[in-house]
Symmetry: C2
Subunit: 197 residues, 2 copies
C-alpha cells in the first residue's frame, strides 16, 4: 500500500494495474476532488460520465456500480464510500474560461489545467481538453424541474471513496481550486490517496 | 427559407451563418432528434452539454437560454419551443457499442455514426467520436434520488424547436434509430428542418 498527499489546488496521476484499488480520502472533509481514469492500453479511452449515466440509468454512480468508458466498456468499479454519497457527474471540471466568466482576471488554477498537466507528465495520450470528470464529494443538487446549484460538500473529515481498476488505468485526481463559489467552503485544501499493494 | 427532410435513422448537416435560425420539426411527433452545433471557424469547438449545464445551472436548456461551447463561449440561442419542453442532455448519443449492450448483433444505425458520417461529408474537423448531443424531444425523466429512465417522447406531431446561430456553425441532426428501447415509440421516422433566409 502506498499513500500520497495531493497538494491543495493541484493534480496528480497514478498508474494502476487491473485489480488494484484507489482510495480517495477527503482528509479535511470539505474538498471536492475531480477524478478521471484513462486506459493506459489505449489512452483515447477514458471513463466517461455521459456513457456511465446512460448505462447505469443514474445521475450519480454508487457503491457496487461499474463506471464505463467512452466506448461503453467497464473501466473502474466503485467499491466503497464512507461519505453520504453526494457526488456529481453533471457539471464540467473548472477551467480558465469558467473563472473568467465568474470574474477572475488573469490566471487561476483549475481542475482542467491540472488534468492537462498530469497528462503531460505521463504522455500517455493526447487530449485537447479534460473529459467530463467524476466530481467526488461535489454537492450539486438537482430539483424536480431540473435546476442545479453549487453547494458546499456534505462529507466529513476522513470520508473516503474506493475504486478498483478493472483494467490498467491512469487515475487522475485534482484538488478543486474553486475559491469563489462555495463548493470547497471557500478554502481548497490538500487530500490524500492510497493505492493497494 | 429552405426546408429539408431528414430521413428516418439517418443524419444531416447544415451550415448556418450567424443570425440564421434552424427549426427542427417533430413532423410525426414521436421522434427523438440528436442535435450538435460545431463552429465552422474552429471545428474543435462544439456545443457542449456539460458546459451548458454548468453555466445555466439547469439539466435542460429552455427558450431564452444560450447554449455554450466546450470553451464556454455562446454558440447557439434557444429561441422557440412549441413542444412541452421535454429534452435531454444527460445521456449519450446512441452508438454501436450501446446496441450491442442491449442485444443487437452486427450493424445498427446510430446517432453517433450519423454524426461521424456528416462530419466526414463536411470535413470541417476531426472527431474521434460524437460529442454529447442535445437530445431534442427525448424523454429521460430523473427522480429525486437520481434514477433515470428511457421513456417515449411527449411531443405532438408538428411540435418544433428553433435555434439561432450566434456564430457560423454546422448544425448536425440525427433521426435517432433506437427501435429497441421505447424512446421513439418503437418506430424511428423522418423529421423536417427549416433554415431561415
Amino acid at each position: 500500500m502506498s499513500r500520497h498527499t495531493v497538494e491543495a489546488r493541484k493534480g496528480a496521476g497514478y498508474k494502476l494495474e487491473a485489480g488494484q484499488t484507489f482510495k480517495v480520502i477527503n482528509t479535511h472533509g470539505h474538498q471536492v476532488v475531480d477524478f478521471w481514469a484513462i486506459s493506459t492500453e489505449d489512452p483515447t479511452e477514458f471513463m466517461s460520465m455521459v456513457h456511465t449515466r446512460s448505462t447505469l440509468t443514474k445521475l450519480v454512480p454508487q457503491v457496487g456500480d461499474i463506471l464505463y468508458s467512452n466506448v461503453r466498456a467497464p473501466i473502474v468499479r466503485f467499491v466503497e464510500d464512507t461519505s453520504p454519497g453526494v457526488h456529481d457527474t453533471v457539471v464540467a471540471p473548472c477551467d480558465l474560461p469558467r473563472y473568467h466568466l465568474i470574474g477572475v482576471e488573469g490566471f487561476h488554477d483549475s481542475c482542467s489545467n491540472n488534468f492537462m498537466t498530469v497528462m503531460g507528465q505521463y504522455t500517455i495520450g493526447e487530449y485537447r481538453q479534460a473529459p467530463e470528470s467524476f466530481n467526488l464529494f461535489m454537492n450539486i443538487p438537482w430539483t424536480e424541474d431540473g435546476k442545479l446549484s453549487f453547494e458546499p460538500t456534505v462529507s466529513k473529515p476522513g470520508d473516503y471513496v474506493v475504486f478498483e481498476a478493472i483494467r490498467p488505468v491512469l487515475m487522475v485526481v485534482s484538488s478543486c481550486p474553486q475559491d469563489i463559489l462555495p463548493i470547497n467552503s471557500g478554502n481548497p485544501v490538500e487530500f490524500d490517496v492510497e493505492i493497494s499493494g
